[in-house]
Symmetry: C2
Subunit: 218 residues, 2 copies
């Protein structure tokens, strides 16, 4: 379980702020090479700082991961907003999924592993996640009006399917091309007569489910 992060702190000293960035970058690098099991010692070494610094900037390893996740979700959100302004002809949702898959493959293992951990319950992550879902909803609306997308798809579906395409490839990048599997999914997302089974979860359902994952108690 992760406690609320840094409520109302005054700004970090210059060197501290710099180390924070160094740590986040090093962590991204190390995690993508070795998975989330990589040691904090290795991250500290890669960042060129001491062990103690890691835990002064991020109270636990999980907080560090959460901060990294917030960072990445933010990146995706701004990519999505850009697409909203200049929607490509072949569909802005598809374009978003391209960005998404590429980012997930770059940060190999980050998205996957995050879901199973308490990171998902971090307030910062939840907030960033919510904002992203909002933008995706707008992208969907755009494509739907243009007749590019079947009408029973929601923002959650888009994220789930991006994760799906990613995991079809990761570890086999040399063998399987994400473009191939994204093309399959894209073909399945075009307007169609038959409805998909089930339904895309509503925002309140998503929020409740995420909150539940946060307190596993098991």
């Amino acid at each position: 379980m992760i406690k609320p992060m840094t409520t109302a702190t005054r700004p970090l000293r210059a060197d501290a702020e710099r180390n924070r960035r160094l740590l986040l970058d090093a962590a991204a690098e190390v995690f993508s090479e070795q998975g989330l099991d990589a040691s904090t010692a290795e991250i500290a070494r890669r960042a060129g700082v001491g062990q103690g610094t890691v835990f002064r900037r991020f109270p636990t390893k999980e907080h560090l991961i959460a901060a990294l996740v917030v960072d990445r979700i933010g990146e995706l959100e701004s990519k999505a907003r850009a697409l909203l302004l200049h929607p490509p002809a072949d569909g802005s949702v598809l374009a978003f999924m391209r960005e998404s898959v590429q980012q997930h493959l770059r940060d190999r293992g980050l998205v996957e592993a995050v879901i199973g951990t308490a990171v998902i319950a971090d307030p910062g992550v939840q907030e960033a996640h919510g904002l992203l879902l909002d933008v995706i909803e707008e992208l969907i609306e755009l494509d739907r009006r243009a007749g590019l997308l079947r009408d029973d798809i929601g923002a959650f579906d888009v994220m789930a399917l991006s994760k799906a395409v990613t995991s079809a490839c990761d570890q086999f990048v040399n063998l399987a091309s994400w473009k191939r599997y994204l093309a399959v999914v894209a073909a399945g997302l075009r307007p169609a007569a038959d409805k998909l089974p089930g339904r895309s979860p509503s925002r309140t359902q998503i929020d409740r489910a995420l909150a539940d994952l946060g307190r596993p108690s098991s």
Copy 2:
């Protein structure tokens, strides 16, 4: 790295064989609850045997995982062979993917995590994997003749896409239904005019890639 397993051993004593099964079952249970990081101590406890017994039956934890994987691949193979004899009207590949996804969700995390480890290099796993690919190839041929499947899909693709659908759902089972995402993929797999980018890897490519993953040396 995993060394060749038990070459030409004479049959296990009755109690040893029983414990082997108990351990495999316990391991499946514990891994699906806690992931592959679960301790061997917990597995031994759940199986009702001592710690020592784990490591006499399986030289390392990785060997245990590999044995479990072989077991599961075998199950899938026989399901696939059954479909070959009585192909369902809506497509035998789709039916196979249904089985596959359900099994992967039951053994949560097993498939995912296996890929990143040396387990993939275990000779037993490789062999079982090869046999499975052969049967899938036959299922594909069947569907293709019936005009149910686009013609640029290979056995590797089917496995990759099964994994994809699984990972779209796992950890969110309450929220996302695998049937929903499998339906998207199925829609994308129907015969189509436009070709998929890239190509399905050949058997020799697959074998070489798997062998490479076996000796990471990093």
